[in-house]
């Protein structure tokens, strides 16, 4: 079971109070984009075994979106952070690097 701390209301929310929003930090390509860019935006996902950055919504709580970093294999949660950012905070990246020395780092 996942327990994510919602940075918008401070509650440790059980996954059944949350809605998963898929991979985070995806660059949006809309009308006028090349076919390749649009395909990447629409379909291509990292799906890693290990460190993953995701979007979640506190659906049954404050209703707000936020970001979470967790391990898809162990379900360890490294941290949550604001939705209003294009990349994970430096402090969080450093924390993950310490815990997972083999991790290749955040790649957009």
């Amino acid at each position: 079971m996942l327990l994510l701390n919602c940075p918008c209301c401070g509650i440790d929310a059980d996954e059944t109070e949350l809605e998963a929003g898929g991979e985070a930090h995806i660059t949006r390509h809309g009308a006028g984009a090349s076919d390749d860019d649009f395909e990447t935006y629409m379909f291509m996902r990292k799906n890693p075994k290990g460190v993953h950055f995701e979007r979640w919504r506190h659906a049954y709580g404050c209703g707000k979106w936020f970001h979470a970093a967790r391990c898809t294999m162990t379900l360890e949660v490294f941290g949550t952070y604001s939705a209003q950012t294009l990349e994970p905070p430096k402090a969080l990246i450093n924390k993950i690097k310490k815990k997972r020395p083999d991790w290749e780092g955040f790649v957009k």
Binding site: C9, I11, D14, E17, G61
Partner: protein, 189 residues
């Protein structure tokens, strides 16, 4: 004039706790910038309370103000005074990026009373119902079964719960069922 009634029209049930439809309750959604002095002042005139901190519910003789999200409050006031209070709020907030709406008849409210209140809530919600997790003065938005609800403790034996009116009957039946005698997990009591 139509005859306004609450979702369960004042129904009550006595099991291991008492479940009661609290009747017509004035409820106003106020959305805006909590840091704005104008919004805080408007709130004060409506409920007599200060601006609640994150997750807080504040009470005064005039009404209550509950933190629902970083930009949304739920105001609880006298049902008959809602229109007048909204008119006042609209005036006080003119020019401000804010929204005020009457949701009284779109919601239902229940009172849960008894020593086992925390156990009853815990049957339907994953929220931490301990005294530390849900102290008096905290507004908790969560779910009951599969329905969105919000609840708070008034004292150690009393909780209030708000939900959409359209599911009011279901929530009442759910709470009734949860308080059948002999069915308590007795985790918190």
């Amino acid at each position: 004039m139509s005859n306004a009634v609450s979702a369960m029209n004042g129904a009550s049930f006595k099991g291991s706790v008492t479940i009661k439809d609290t009747g017509l309750q004035g409820m106003i959604t106020l959305r805006g910038d909590f840091k704005s002095a104008v919004v805080a002042k408007a709130l004060k005139t409506a409920t007599g309370t200060a601006m609640p901190e994150t997750g807080q519910i504040l009470h005064s003789a005039k009404g209550s103000a509950a933190w629902m999200s970083p930009d949304e409050l739920l105001l609880l006031v006298d049902y008959t005074k809602v229109d007048a209070i909204i008119a006042k709020l609209d005036k006080a907030l003119s020019g401000e990026h804010a929204l005020v709406i009457n949701v009284s008849d779109a919601r239902a409210m229940f009172e849960i009373k008894g020593a086992a209140t925390r156990d009853i809530l815990a049957k339907g919600s994953p929220a931490d119902m301990s005294k530390e997790g849900l102290p008096v003065g905290v507004m908790r938005r969560s779910r009951l079964g599969q329905l969105a609800v919000a609840f708070w403790m008034d004292d150690e034996k009393t909780a209030h719960m708000v939900c959409f009116r359209s599911v009011g009957e279901h929530v009442f039946m759910w709470l009734k069922n949860a308080s059948e005698k002999g069915s308590l997990p007795k985790y918190y009591t």
